[in-house]
Every structure is written in C-alpha cells, then in structure tokens.
Symmetry: D2
Subunit: 350 residues, 4 copies
C-alpha cells in the first residue's frame, strides 16, 4: 500500500483539535500496515496516514472545544475514538465499544506534521515530567499498563511471555507495581539480551538477590524453563502476562500459571484461531482465568500511567531508535529485521 | 470396571466421620466411570465405591473430631479433600489445591450404605429446610452456585449453554440471583423440552412478559439463534455460563458474549484440546474474560447455597428419577439413553 | 419557600430535550424542600420547580441531539447532571462528580407539565414493561439498586435498617437478587406494618419457611432484636443496608454486621455529624467496610434496574398514593404525618 | 502490671512447635501493656509474657506436627490464633475470626527465650533473604501490607496519616507497590523528620521530580496542608491509609480523600468512640468507602509480604534500636518519650 503523509494540514471541525506532532512511536500494527500484511487489509483503506502513538502541541482548536484544551498545550491523545452511546460506553467500559474507530488505522493518524483528533480524547501532559521521547508512545505504554493492572501484581510472582517493546514495558510496569519474582520468556536472542540487560540494572538498584529470571524457551531449553517456572507456589506463577500472541506462548502461559491464577492476554496471534492443548486440564479444572485486553481504559489507564511516570516509572530503555520522520522507511527495515524495540519518529526533527 | 459397594462398613480414623447415606445423586462423572470411559481410566483405580453427591446421618465419629459434628446430625460433605498446607489452601483458594483427593474417584465414595469422610469436610444441614432428595446432590448444585456466583449476574443478561442437570440448576440459580434476560441453548430435544417447561413455570410466577428464551442450536437453527442472542446490549449478553463442554458451545459462548463480558466455564469436553475459532477477534480484541471453574469454594459456596435453599431456591425439577441403590444399573441405562436429568439413589430405600 | 411550577414551557437548547411529564414521584428530599428544612436552604435558590423522579414523553429535541432520542419516546432521565470532564467522570465514577447539578434541586425539575434535561441523561423505557406508575420513581429505585448492588448479596444474610420507601425498595431488590435471610428494622408502626405485609406475601410466593424477619427496634425491644440478628453466622449478617440516616441505626448497623462484613450507607442523617459509639471495636478491629452511596452509577445502575423490572422485579407495593399534580400540597401533608410511602403525581391527570 | 519472662521453657503439645526466639519487635500494643493503659486491662490477665512480633529457630516439634515444619527451620509465626471452624474461618476471612486468641496478649508471647505456637501458624523464612532484624517484626509489617493491599494503589495518589513505625512501613510498601504521588501527614517533629529523610532517599533513587510530600498538620499549618492535598484529582487523593488512630486524622482522612475514593483504617484510637464531623457530606454523599483492617490475611498477606521482601522491599530504616532482651525497660522508656520507631530485642544477644 501507499502510506501517505503528503496531505494538506487538516482543519479541526466542531469538537476537534489540531495537534502539531512532536514525536510519534512506531507500533507493531504500523509495521503490519507497512508490510501490507493480510491481517490489515480488511481494516485499512488507503491512502492513509498511519501512526497512533504520539505527543505534540495543540495548534488549533475547533468550535465547541472545552476550555480545558488550549493552543500551546503539550498533549497526547487516546486514538481509539468511541461512540459514547453504546452499552459499553455508558457503563464505564468504553475501551470495548464495538463502534470504535482507530485513528491511524481507520482515519488519518500521527505520522505527519499535524494530526486532528476529537477534543474528548486529548490528554494533557506535564512538560517537566514526560519527555517528548516517552510521550511519543504512551498508547503502547498504556497497553502495558492496562495489561498489568488487570489483576493486582503486588507481591505476586509474574511471568511475561514475550519481551518485545510492549513486553519490556509490561515488565517495567509490573516491577514498578510491586511484583515479586518476575519470569520473562522469549526465543529471540535480541529480546533475550535486552531482557538480561534490564534484569542486571533492576536487580542492582535493589541491591538484592536475583528476583528476575530470563528464560530462553527455544526448543532446546523450553521444557526445563517451564518446569522451573512451575516451581513457584507449588505449581506456577500467580499471574502470566501474555504479550507475544504466539500459540506456543499462549499454551505455555496455561502451563506455568498456578491453579487459580490469572493469564492476561494482550498479544495478537497472526491467525484468528488458537488451539488450547489442554483446555480441560489447564484452564477449567485448575480454575484459571483468562483476561482478554484491548486498548486502554478510558481514561483510567491514562491517569494511572501518568501518575506512574511522574513518580519515576522508567521505560526509556525500550527506545532504541530516534529518527526524523523521513527515516521512516529505513526504520521499518530495521524493525523488520528484528533489530530494535521502539522507534521514535520526529516530524519536526529531534 | 467393577464398581463396587460390597465392602465392610468403614471405621472412622482420627478426624474422620462415618455417615449413613440417606440419598446420593448420580453425576455425569459417575456415568463416565460406569462406562469406563477413556477420560476416567487414569484417575480411577478399581475396585472403587463411586458417588460424591450425597446426604446422610452421622453414624460414628473418630478420635479428635470437634464437637461441632455429632452422631445423629443430618449432613452432607464436600468430597474434594484438600491438603490444607499448599499455597492455594493457605490463601483461601483451596478449591484449586493441586493435591486434591476426590472421594468417589480417588477414594471410596457414597454409593453405599456408609461413607467415611474427614470431619473438616462435613456440612450440617437443616432437616426442615433441605429435603433428603435435594441434600442428595448438593455437590452438583454447588458446582452450579460456584459458576453463577463467579461474576455477579443481578440485572444482567445471561446465556446458559447446555441444559443438562447442572445447566438446569445454573439457570435456576441465576434466576434466583436476579438475572435479567436468560437465554438457554441446547441441541438435545429432551433438554430443550425440560428448559421450556421451566421457562413456562418461572415466567408465570413473575406474571410478566417473557424473559427466558430457549434456543435450539442444532445445525438448522443455530445461526439465527446466535444472531438473536447477540442483539442483547448491542453485541451480546453480559455473562455466558458454559455448562456443556461441547467445543461448538465454547465457541458459541465467545460469539454471544458482549464485548467486555464474561464467559464462565464449567463444562468439561471429552478431549483435553479445544480450538477457539476466533481467539484473536472474540477473546482478546473484545476484552472478554474466561473463567475456569472447578469444584466449590470451601466453604463459601456451601454457605451461599444453603442460604439460597433456605430462602426458597427450588431445584426439585431436576430430579427425574428416585430409586433404591439396587436400581443403579437401570438408572445408568436411562441416563446413557439421554432420558432423565438427576437420578437420586436411596441406599436404605426411599 | 415558594415551590413553583407556573413557569413558561422551557425551550430545549443545544443537546437538550423537552419532556412532557406523565408521572413524577415525591422523594424525601422534596419534602425537605417543601418544609424548607435547614438542610436544604443552602442548596436550593427559590423560585424552583422541584421533582427529580419522573417519566414522560419526549415533546421536543434541541439542536445536536443524537438520533437515539426522538419525539414521542417514552423516557425517564438521570437528574444528576455531571460535568463529564473531571477525574471522576473520566474514570467511570461520574456519579461522584463534584460538579454535579441536580435537576429539581439546583435547576428546575419535574413537578410540572414539562421538564428540560440534557439528552445525554435521557433513558428510554419500554412501554410494555415499565408502567407509568413505576417509571415515575426510577431515580429512587435506582438509589435502592445502587445500594444493593454495591456488594453482592446472593446467598448472603442481609439487614435493612429503615423501611421507608427506599428501604422497602431495597428489600425488594435484595430479595430479587438472591439474598438469603433478610432482616428489616424500623421503629415506625406504619413502616413495620408495611414490612410485615411484604414479608407475608414474599414468603408465600416461595412456599417456604420464614426467611424475612421484621424487628421493631424501639426502646422496649431493640436490645433483643439486635441480639437476634447477631446470631446470623455467629456474629452478624453479611451485609447491612442502612437506609434511614438515623444515628441509632448507623450504630446498630455496626453492631449487627458480622466481622469482615459490609455496611452500605444510603440514609442521610439530619445533622452532618455522626458519632460512632464503637469505631475501634466494631469497625476497625472487626475488619468491617462502610460504603457511602450517592446517586446511581451512570448508567450501569439504570441498565441493571431496567433489566430487573423487565424480568419481573415488583415494587408496585411502595406506591401508596396516586394523585394529580394539583394534589401536591395534600400529599405532602400525608407524608409529613408519616402516612404513605411513595406518592406518584400525574401532571396531566392519571 | 508485671510483665514476665521468668517462666520455665514451655513444652510443645500436639500440633505445637517450640521456637527459640532470635529477635522480637516491640509494638505499640506492647507499650500499652507495659504502661498498663486502660485499654489493655480487659484483655490481658497477668502474669503474661508479651511480644507478638518475632523470628526464631524451631527448637522442638510436638506430636502431629506436619513434616513441613522441622527442627532448625528459620521461622516467624502469625500470632493471631483462630478457631478454624467459624463462618469467617471457613470462608477465607479467618483474620476476622471472633474467637481469635492473640499470643502475646491472651497467651504467652515472644519476649522470651522460647515461645510456643501452633504449627499451623508457623511461617518459614529464607535466611538469605530475610535478615533477623527484619524477621523480628513481620507481624507489624504484615499490618502495613494488609492495609496497603486492601485497595490497589498502583498509579494512584495516596495519603498516609501518621508516620509512626507502621505508617512508615505503609509508606514504603505503598511506594513499592507503585503508588503515584504520596502525601504523609503527622504532627510529631521526630516523625516528620523521619518522613523527610525517607522522602529524600526515595526521590533520589528515582532520580526524578518530587513525588513525596510531607505535611505538618499541627494547628498552624493544618488547614493549608489539607487544602494542598485536596488539589489532587480535583478534590483529593485516591486512597488514604489512616495509621494514627487520631480522631483529627480520621476526620482529615475523609476531607482529603477524593469523591468515590477509599479510606483504609488501621489506626486504633484511645477511645472506642469516634465522631465523624461530616459523615453526611464527606462519607455518604461523596460515595467514599471506609475499610477497617485487622491483623493479616491468613496467609495471603504473609505470602505477599515475603515476596516483596525477596524482591527488595526495604524497611530497615524503621529499626531505630537493637538491644538485648535485658534492654527492654530502657527501650520502653525511649519509646514512651517518643524517641525511636521500631525497637528490636535480641533474647540471645545480637
């Protein structure tokens, strides 16, 4: 497809805000759009400006925009635009609104100099606390925060399956939220190396014994890794955060969670279908709960996330590339080669 | 296998109680044992007295049994005997103890004149409130209560997939607990007929408009039935109680639950494996939660169940056969032919 | 004060709806306004049309009202109008918005032929399921539903302190939602008589043993009543619904709740101040939770309430007077004399 | 009273364990016993060995003690000994058992060379992770953990009223569990100084902006302090942890919590009575929840606490004195003069 940003600057309509983009993050979805993967072809109608993670400055406000949003404000935005009138929206579960439009997928997004969004979705940021390089991917960080907060993790053992960018953020958030022992599984050497780096740094800061365990679950070592994780609490960890979408990982999640524990599912598999190898024994008969996660709670997740950042949550280590918007194609190449975690684009230069 | 009850009367050891069985219910599991189904062969080591639903009178108490259990008491018992010292047992989740022994499967059970159980597991019943014919299957009713109480159903729309005995009880319990619209799906003409009987009676008692909907989800009508249920709240019901274990029903459950809703899973499929046709779209991307259910919460479920019975919960309509213990083989035949819901056996005659 | 309804018919502004009032209920608050009680003088600036419980037909819609509300619709409305942009509103707790305006207290309300409300707050009703005489007081019923649903009551013992109109509705809702034993306390002979009537009818419908217990907690019998309720579960009921606002009842609530139980507080005392006689022993050291309740969850409570009504929740017994709007002063007299529970006014005649 | 420890070494009965005390912490309750305060005279029957916070080594095990506890084990113990058979004990709320016996208050405790406790209550510790000086007061730390975990604090603003030893631990635990902004109030200069020390250290570790705020709520500055805290989220913090028992602080808690927020109550006032100055406006009409806290959840709190310690939770800063058991009287003097936070006693010398 042709992903475009050579559009005229949009004009904000009633209740809309025009934002000059300072920085934007590249998400896995953007990569699927860029690669024109089968999974995106039904959702995206080109030409489209992709990009749904960003921060910027309010450049212009349309009619009927409340005074709480003003020109010059430093902001991000929730890019899931919901209907506001369905059952879910009216009962505090708007993040599951089935009329959701995603800007950057169904409407023009943020890989551009300007982006237009509804004022309701704008989130004000504190310049002193949220650097532009972090504000650039709050949407993704919000996914991680939503996933981690689904079930309280304080003082619990946690396993994170998949250490891509959102997995890495989930690990940082779970640690910030008081998780006890943390297990991380992956098969990709790059991801495993990044996980080990983080482990070293985090454990040093706590000046303590090792409490983060990294497991290569490639064919040679998978069985032993699973066995090791199962030793927690007798038969597994309290909480699994499934961040990979890999069918192997989803099944491993059900193996390493303890009886009565929770598996939180954010990862999206390539195929819609998923075979659970031991639905009967692992899920039903062990009283396990599986939680599907979509988007961010509006706007609970945003408040929690910003409060954490302001109290020192550090996710700067997931940013591996910072490039001008013109570096987009090259950055996509790196990501497609499995090099790098989060790429931040700067439309106006860094 | 040889299912046996020609054993000497057991002698209660320290902390144990001997109970004279007044009545016992036949469960699906007993049928699988009787039929010597593949799924039971690993669990059961014959000879064994099956039966894990019953009520009776305390005939003898062993050493160290607390004064709260006395000879002559009218009682039932939780037949999942847990270790008391594992992580789950020590954190209020003993029903998921992975050292559980089930009396009637791993140890001799209640299809006999006498059964021996740990005093800790004995539940005292009120003779005036709990008839023997109901006390006979509190274990199964407890499964239904545990399933329904997993997620509050008051004022919510509920779909029950599978109207076998526990499905029928779940319907009655959900109704008792204030469910709004109730959908019931099944493919078996006998079950559908029983569901329609219940619907007629329940709606008449409320002197109101129809709020119970019975759906035949056989091939000819399944698609339309699903579409009708999906109209609730815009895209489905608040809560699905999956009572069948059928792979088709599990997938339907994910189709008819609303975005952000809950699917509670009690039904056990024949095979361990389960393919979710749209894991990505139905479960993860719609923010749905799936709750595996095992046994009864110890002893929360028992207290709730008995309080409901004492306030008038009526499940007498699930009892289709009441026979002496000697009628066991014949009763099994009826059940295997799909005739009947709950069979109550009376070891001492009715 | 002069409570007025001789106003010109209001004109709906942008996003507003004009509703022809079919019926409206008199709430305790209306009585306090009418009596010009000290507690209302700071809140109400006369002249004012009171009335915040009603149903009616949409007569006119203003600019920008979504198509989901149309002229002729049979509706009620949430009369707490919230800001939509504060922390509470943006995190699914709009019912606690501290910028709330209450129509009928801060703005003109429903004791009139027409009332004007924001379209966002309009709730469509089903003519076949919600009679006008019930639609007239959904705001009050919503308070009861919100109170009962704060903590699951299914299979639990419940004590309701105060059997005024909302207490009576709370009893009906708790029963509908599967409460086990229900205790009701009051000191007013009229209320106690109404409670006994309800008990008789409800127990008969369940064809069972008594499970509703009415307690006169006047000086002569209070001590024994409390002792009787405390026998539940060893030291009290699972849940107390405090509907009276009486300081004696609030303290009794803490006495009759079991250790680790819940006290849900809807009743408003005359004075702001409240002395808990045994804060240390009854609340902190017994691990009890006290839940303050305000308004109705927007709009979760409304969905639950309407689903219950559609499945047969019956609260028609709380309506003791149905009069034309012109009977307002006389009705207030009756209520002030403690005669009657819910008065329904019909602006256009019944 | 005469607090004694000149007793013969106790002999463990069936199911009991004898523990050689390595270290024990002095709790506020011990001080009240020592001072023979009015509040303790009904509970304590001298002579008594006080002390309910300790760690030690198993010296001897009685008959019927399970193999999971063995001579030589490094352990602590839950000193609330519950009946195991009441409603609360059988429904996972044993910490609110109304038959609780507290060792160190109702039975001999740990300020001695040896202490005898039921094997069920023994908690094994990891020598490599839990230093003796911390193992000495896990009971108190458990109170703090129970209080903090009552309501999830991750990404929320928290106010802690009272920075005595348990308040200080609650602050450390809330921080560990991902709290956002933390407010601490006290009136005692020593406590305020300790709070400021902690703030400095913690903020430095996060290399960030200030997120801990210390407020002197003495008469001169109280009003402004409250106003500052109320600015959070528009009208207050998400969660207040009331650790002081002071009537002024309890009322302040209701003032500084946001509408719809939570107040968790651990502090015990001197008097049983407590007057809430604005029960109506602050608690009921703002939809606030007050949670009484007693003891530690058995044994959920212990598992969470130990997992946190093993992942680096640091509370060593609350230990201000480490003395031999013979220094008991002198240490009490210091505490009575308001000097010091947690005193650790070493019966066998340090």
């Amino acid at each position: 497809m042709r992903v475009t940003n050579d559009r005229p600057v949009p004009v904000p309509g009633p209740g809309e805000v025009l934002i000059r983009v300072l920085a934007a993050g590249i998400c896995g979805t953007d990569r699927h759009i860029y690669n024109w993967d089968e999974s995106m072809r039904d959702m995206v109608r080109p030409p489209l400006v992709p990009g749904h993670e960003f921060c910027g400055e309010v450049a212009e406000v349309g009619r009927d925009v409340p005074a709480s949003v003003a020109v010059g404000d430093y902001v991000s935005a929730e890019m899931h635009v919901v209907c506001g009138s369905c059952y879910q929206c009216r009962t505090g579960q708007g993040h599951t609104c089935h009329n959701t439009l995603i800007y950057g997928i169904h409407r023009d997004g943020a890989f551009a100099e300007y982006v237009r969004v509804p004022a309701t979705n704008v989130i004000r940021l504190d310049r002193d606390r949220v650097p532009v390089s972090i504000g650039a991917f709050l949407d993704a960080l919000g996914n991680a925060v939503h996933t981690v907060l689904r079930v309280p993790v304080a003082g619990k053992s946690v396993c994170i399956t998949g250490y891509g960018p959102i997995g890495a953020m989930a690990a940082a958030v779970a640690h910030f939220c008081g998780a006890g022992r943390i297990h991380i599984t992956d098969v990709n050497p790059y991801s495993l190396a990044k996980a080990r780096e983080w482990k070293t740094r985090i454990e040093k800061a706590r000046a303590g014994h090792p409490f983060v365990h990294i497991h290569d679950v490639g064919p040679a070592t998978r069985e032993e890794a699973i066995w090791r994780i199962q030793k927690e609490n007798g038969d597994g960890v309290d909480v699994v955060l499934e961040m990979s979408g890999s069918p192997v990982a989803v099944n491993d999640a059900l193996k390493v969670v303890r009886s009565g524990g929770d598996v939180v599912l954010l990862g999206l598999p390539r195929s819609s279908k998923m075979t659970l190898e031991n639905y009967k024994g692992d899920l039903v008969m062990r009283g396990v709960t599986m939680h599907g996660i979509i988007g961010r709670r509006m706007y609970e997740t945003w408040y929690r996330m910003l409060a954490m950042i302001e109290a020192g949550l550090d996710v700067s280590h997931v940013v591996t590339h910072e490039v001008p918007l013109s570096g987009f194609v090259e950055a996509m190449g790196s990501l497609n080669r499995g090099e790098g975690m989060k790429v931040v684009l700067y439309p106006g230069g860094k």
